[in-house]
Structures are given as structure tokens and as C-alpha cells.
């Protein structure tokens, strides 16, 4: 059993020998015993079984006809009305009829093949993909002829100028896609929030009074006026959505510059995740954490919405808020940084 007995393996075809590379084979390798003798099936041996199988196949095909007819009947027999149960009945019975129509044919045909068509395996020779030496020589000859007739190798100027032309012709096609979208400009930096914009409920657009917000509650907020927008409503909402939370002021950790951004423990943060932009909609009251349901980035509301877990890198931007003379919550300004997913120029 030492390797010395093994020899390099290769495949000797009539015209060409292929290297086996690292393949080895023992000189006394076991020989392929050849095809196994064929064993007869019951349907080959007994007329009774053969006839039974033939009957079964035709039953399947009949069943298919029944299924198809049933499906057509079901289309009319189970109309859809405003009652939702009718949708289910229509889908179910139409589908079951079609299933029988299809399965009958399928099972019938396969049963036919397996029981009644010959099941003795046959062998067919393969031929290597590589052409014979003669064919290859002929192919080379054609290429040479084409080359000499066109002067492809000889005429350098033509060839190179053609490469140049071929390299340039697709470029206009790339440029043509330029108007797929405008230059983003600074649209990603601004939202609908302005100094004095009232905070309103999502989706009704009713302004919110600071007094209405109880401790620990969460409000889904949009800028007042967004609900009435006729154009670009979703685009604006995708940037301006805000979460409003009232915390115990003692729990809040606020930096000096942001001391004035909250109002009596009420803080407003962008609802758009700084990871890839899902709405950060799950609030855990006990831990004061906001969780993004898409990729589980978690933000600490008490600590400037810093990332405590998950793939997001940046805190949720804070919207500076205060109240107006009537007690409604208003924005002091727009967000001071771009909301949503990171981008290069931010």
C-alpha cells in the first residue's frame, strides 16, 4: 500500500492525451464490471399488472379532466364579494381544481413512464468537447484566412482606431442615464422643520400641547402642515419624522449646548435610523432605549440617543424644541445635522 505502486493518471483519447495532474491510479485498480443485468418489473412479467398500470394512468388523466372542469365551474360558482371569506373560497376551490388538473397529467405521465415504458438502461458514447486535430487545424486555417483577407493583424492603424471607437461608443449611453435623478445638492441636509414649526401628531397632523404629554409616553410626530402637502409628502416625511418622549428631567444627561433643546423633560429625536434609514419605532420604557426593528440598532434616549448596541454608528439627531405662547410644542430650528443614513458629504 505504498505510493510507489501508484502511477500518474491520465486519460488517453484517440487523438489527444489529457494530463491527470495530481491524479494517480494503481496499476492493479479494480476494473469496471460493466452494466448490471436488467431486472424485469412486475408490469414486464405479468399482463395483469400491465393492464392495471395502464388503467391507473388513464384514471389519472380522467382525474385531470375532472379537475380542470371543476376549476372552470369554481370560477363562476365562487364569485368575490365584499365579504372577505369569498376571496378565500374563490382562491381555494379554483386552486384545488387547477391542482387536480395539473397533478393528474403529471402523475399519469410519470406513472406511464415508470411502469409501461422500457426501463432497461442504455449506454451512449461521449465524445470529448475538444475537436479532432483535423477540425482544429481547419479552424485555425479559417482564422488565418480571415485575418489575411481583412488584414486585421497587418493594418495596425485600422485595428487600433477601431478599438478606440469601440471603447468610446458605450460612453454616451452611460451619460444618457444622467437625468435619472437630480444632483442631490443639499436636500439631504434640510427637512421641513423650521423655527416655530409646531409638532403635530402622525398621521392626523393635530398640533401637540406640552401639557398633553404624560411622563413616559411616546408620540409619533410630524411637522404641522406635512399632512396637507400635495406633493413630496412621503419624501418630506422620510426625513422629518420625529419621536417625542417625556422623561423625568432627572434622568436626562444633557450636554451644555443642548440644555435648551428639551422642554421640561420632553425630548424630540429623529425617527429615521442613522444606519440605513428604517423608522426607529420601538421604545422600551424601562431602559429608555429606542430600538430599530430592522437591524436592532439601539439608542439611549436619556443620553442624547447614543448608540448602545447594533450596527448604527451615530446618535439619532435631536430636534431642538420649546413651546409657543399657546403652549404648543414648536421646533427651535431645523435639525442641526443631516438625518437618516450616513452619506459621504455629510
Amino acid at each position: 500500500m505504498s505510493d510507489k505502486k501508484l502511477v500518474k493518471a491520465s486519460s488517453a483519447e484517440v487523438e489527444h492525451e489529457y494530463s491527470g495532474g495530481l491524479a494517480v491510479v494503481a496499476p492493479d485498480a479494480v476494473k469496471n464490471p460493466g452494466l448490471e443485468p436488467h431486472r424485469l418489473r412486475m408490469t414486464d412479467k405479468s399482463v395483469k399488472h400491465e393492464k392495471a398500470a395502464a388503467r391507473q394512468v388513464s384514471y389519472m388523466f380522467f382525474a385531470s379532466v375532472v379537475g380542470s372542469v371543476f376549476a372552470m365551474w369554481a370560477y363562476f360558482a365562487f364569485p368575490i364579494t365584499e365579504d372577505l371569506a369569498t376571496v378565500r373560497a374563490n382562491t381555494l376551490y379554483l386552486g384545488l381544481g387547477l391542482t387536480l388538473g395539473l397533478m393528474g397529467i403529471g402523475i399519469g405521465a410519470v406513472h406511464w413512464a415508470k411502469t409501461l415504458m422500457p426501463d432497461a438502461e442504455v449506454s451512449e458514447d461521449r465524445h470529448p468537447a475538444r475537436g479532432s486535430e483535423e477540425v482544429r487545424a481547419k479552424a485555425v486555417e479559417i482564422i488565418k484566412l480571415a485575418n489575411s483577407e481583412s488584414g486585421f493583424s497587418r493594418r495596425k492603424l485600422i485595428r487600433r482606431s477601431m478599438y478606440g471607437a469601440l471603447a468610446f461608443f458605450p460612453l454616451p449611453a452611460v451619460i444618457l442615464f444622467g437625468d435619472l435623478g437630480p444632483n442631490p445638492g443639499d436636500t439631504l441636509r434640510h427637512t421641513m422643520w423650521k423655527k416655530g414649526t409646531r409638532l403635530a401628531l402622525d398621521p392626523t397632523g393635530v398640533p401637540i400641547k406640552a401639557a398633553d404629554i404624560t411622563l413616559g409616553s411616546v408620540f409619533h410626530v410630524i411637522p404641522e402642515g406635512l399632512a396637507e402637502l400635495k406633493k413630496h409628502k412621503l419624501e418630506e416625511k422620510a426625513k422629518a419624522a420625529v419621536l417625542l418622549i417625556r422623561l423625568n428631567p432627572a434622568d436626562l444627561i444633557e450636554s451644555e449646548e443642548r440644555k435648551t433643546w428639551s422642554y421640561d423633560g420632553i425630548v424630540a429625536y429623529s425617527k429615521i435610523c442613522t444606519h440605513v434609514g428604517c423608522p426607529v419605532a420601538l421604545y422600551e420604557q424601562l431602559t429608555h432605549n429606542l430600538l430599530c426593528p430592522c437591524h436592532q440598532s439601539t439608542f439611549d434616549v436619556t443620553d442624547a440617543c447614543k448608540v448602545v448596541f447594533g450596527p448604527a454608528a451615530r446618535p439619532l439627531p435631536q430636534l431642538p424644541i420649546t413651546v409657543d405662547a399657546e403652549g404648543y410644542l414648536i421646533a427651535q430650528s431645523d435639525f442641526t445635522e443631516p438625518v437618516g443614513p450616513s452619506f459621504w458629504e455629510r
Partner: protein
Amino acid sequence: MSNAVAEKKKPGFAAGAANYLDERVGAGGILKEFGRKVFPDHWSFMLGEVALYSFVVLLLSGTFLTFFYQPSMEFVIYDGSYGPLKGTEMSIAYASSLDISFDVRGGLLMRQVHHWSALLFVAASGLHMLRVFFTGAFRKPREINWLVGFMLFVLGMAAGFTGYSLPDDLLSGNGLRIIDGMIKGIPVIGAYGSSLLFGGEFPGEYIVARLYGLHILLVPALILIFIAIHLFMVVIHKHTHYSGPGRTDSNVVGYPLMPVYVAKAGGFFFIVFGVIMLISATFTINPIWNYGPYDPSPVSAGTQPDWYIGWLDGALRLAPSHWEFVAFGGTWSMNILIPMIVGIGFLVIVAAYPFIEAWVTQDKREHHVLDRPRNAPTRTGIGAAGVTFYAVLWAGAATDLIATNFKVSLNQVLTSMQILLIVGPIVAYIITKRACLALQRKDREIVLHGRETGRIVRLPHGEYLEVHEPLGEFEQWKLIDFKDYQPTLARPNSKGKITINARIRAAVSRIYFEDRIIPVTQTELDAARHDHPEAIEAPVEQEAKQITQ
């Protein structure tokens, strides 16, 4: 006399039609060439068929849907049959998807047929790829067809994603939002890329119509072309077959196309279609009416993409915090870039694998007899590592559901997944490779010593023996017939220099073939049969120092 009668008899319709076609398109020659073409039989060869047939079902059901669906993001007030959403403002795309579900007879059925067959198409393609990988069907001359199949798998995911986004419901809109975030994360061009894709700011008014064009024209056309190439090459190469008596690299053993395979494969199309129909009639998929129209603000907990996108979503979830930094005047969102690179890198390795293995073995022969996975232990180990890697990313897309359903900490689930992503493939590789070698040893044992019968006999001198029943000539062949490779040493080339390429190849060949089981030889077989069966030594595993090549 009877001959004369037969000559006078008018040919029937079939014969007439055959003659008509032959005289115009040479149908006779085509039939002569392909009519009795031999196809081997094995259940695993049906996986590719399932993919092909589900694609046909996709085309049929998809065409039905286009007659009713409207790819517009204009807003309308819904006034269809679905009560809970009456009076809601929504896009025409979403409203028409609801109409297909609630106002078109058989519409919901066709929507579900389309969605289920899409899921099945990608699943069957993936399983078919695994079958091809683990049996070594990608070896020469089929490397190019592996690439074609790979393209089909990727296009299948693209078709799935573009279609998933069309109903413009809350869930699919969130999927697009994630795509938007990922594109924005690409250095330098991110914001422009997003603006070009969405025609301005997300979500804009264009994306559904644009995806619709891709989904019903470009992507399916590409899939059709690649399927044509894929099948054309199957015909050129003739199908591979599993090892067995009479099967060699220079023949193909199986049943003729006509009539057996026409009946079997044709029938199988109806079975696949029928099963999809049965599932669609009885199981709801993608109930868009429950999600509501897209709105960037709400989202439900436990959001999940369709299964084939899960692994990419998982990659996004598994990226640790604080990977983003600012340098060279821009923001580098490594928490998005690394998952993208990992995903693309994984696909590139999958595509390149046949060429890597061919470079290691340097085997230039044509291979038509498939490997049993155990007989290529290193490849099977690599495959298991790849499957594990994919599976961990896939499970990563369900971290929140795992945490809530099993009542464990989300943070711990995620950390475990991160560790598992690195450790899992390594462990899978080692275990699988060892299991393969053990199975090969077992095969060797069975060939040489026969099968255990459970019958114990007592010899005259008191010794007990279990009687082993030898395998038949045909039965044992499957256990003997496999290719054997030896690791190589780094050898100098014609200039007397050992190239780096040669060194790396030698090292990799050792990883591949250092531990290997040699096929049973005739000498061993004779010795085992004629001497005392129990005197045969246990199989020998090759040692590195024995390399003599």
C-alpha cells in the same frame, strides 16, 4: 399483395405533419440526433428541473398579473373591496395589487402562485448549485456552465427583489429604504447613486415603475438567455452520471429522451406546477393588505425580507457598532461597506471555486462520473464551511425573532452569531472532512470484509466470529470507483526556479490531499477474498512524508 395495399394507403395526419416539418426545417435530422439522447436518472438531477419549471410558472403567472397591475406611485383614495383600507390614501401600485387580491377572481391565487414559485425558483436553484458543487459536476468541461448557473442564481435574487418591491406596501417600502441607506453608504458617489435610482429623494415617484421595467423585461430576458445557454451546454456535454457499474467518463448511461424522458420530465413539469398550485391555494404568502401602504414613519416589529435576501440582511445586522469613521474628506460607512464586501466576496468565491480546484489538481481530463461527496473530503468540507457561513448570515436576519421566541437576550444572540460566523465554518470544515474520511474508511472496510450479517458462529477452538457477507461485483463498484489525488511538492520550473505559484500550489495541494483514502485495488480485493477476511489490515491513511511524486 399486402405491400401494394400499404403503399396505396394515404399517410395519416401525424406522418403528413412530420413530412411537412422535415421538408421545411429538417425536423427529421433534429429528431434523429436528439430523439434517443440518453439521460441518466437520479432524484438529485430533478432540482435543476424544479428551478426550470418554476421559472415557466413564473412567466405564466407573471403575465397574468401584468394585465391588472399598474406600476404608478400616484396617490389615490382606495375604494376597493377590502374594507379595512377603504378611504386610505395609497399609491396606485398598492391599490392595483389590492384589486388583484380582492376584486379579480383567481387574482389572489395567481399572486400567490407567482410569489410561491419565485421562492421555489431561488430555493431550487440554490439546492441545484449545492448538488453540482458537492458532486464535483463543475469540473472540466463544465466550468463555464457553472458560471452560467451562478449568474442564474444571482439573477433569480435580483428578479425576486425587484418583484417584491412592486406592491409598494409597508414591508417592501422598508426594503427599498434599506437599499437606499446602503447605496448612500457607498463612498463618494452614495448620495448621487441614491438620487439616480430613486429619481430624487427617497422614496420619490419613480422607483416602482423603474423596478417594474427591470422585473418584467430586463431581468427575465437575461434569465431566459442564460437558461438557454445553460441547457444548450447540458446537451453539448451530455448529462453527468453517478458512479455505478458500466458508468465511465466516456459514456452516459440512462434512459432515452423519447419516450421515457419526454414522459418523465414533461410529467414532472405538471407535478411541480401542481404542487405550487396546491400550496398557493391553501397557504397565504405576502398578505400585503395586512401591512398597509408604504409610509416612511411606521414599521412593524419582526420585519423579515423574503428568504433569499435574508443572508444579506443578516450581514448588515451582524456588523458591530462604531465602524463608521470620517477620513479623506468623507464618511466611511464601514458598518454598511463591510457587509456588502463580505456578501460580494462570498459570491465571488462561489463563482471561482471550479477554477481554484482545477488549479490545485491540474487535472485536465474530462469528468463525467460524479463524485460521491465523501470521496472528495476537502471539497465537501469547504462546501460545508460555505453552507455554514451562509446559514449563520441567514439566521442573523432573524436575531430579533430568535430572541423573542426563545426568550433570550437579543444582545447575546447577536454576539453569538458574530462569533459563530467566524468559528462555525472552521468547525464545519474540520468535522465534515473527518466524517468524509471516516465514511471512506467504512466503504473500504465493507468492500474488503463484506457487510456485517449479525450472524455469530463459534469455531471449533472456541473463538466467536461474526460472518461477513461479501458484496457482489456490481454492488461494490460504487464504493471502489473514485479518483485519487496525491499532494505535490514545489518543483523548479524549466529555468530551475521555484515560483511562488508552485509553492502556494504545493501547500494547497497538501491541505487538499494530505489526508486521503486510497481506492481498493484488485490485489487487496483478491487477498481479502482468498485469505482469511479477518486478517486484512485496517485501511492506511497516507502520511505527508510518503509523498513521492
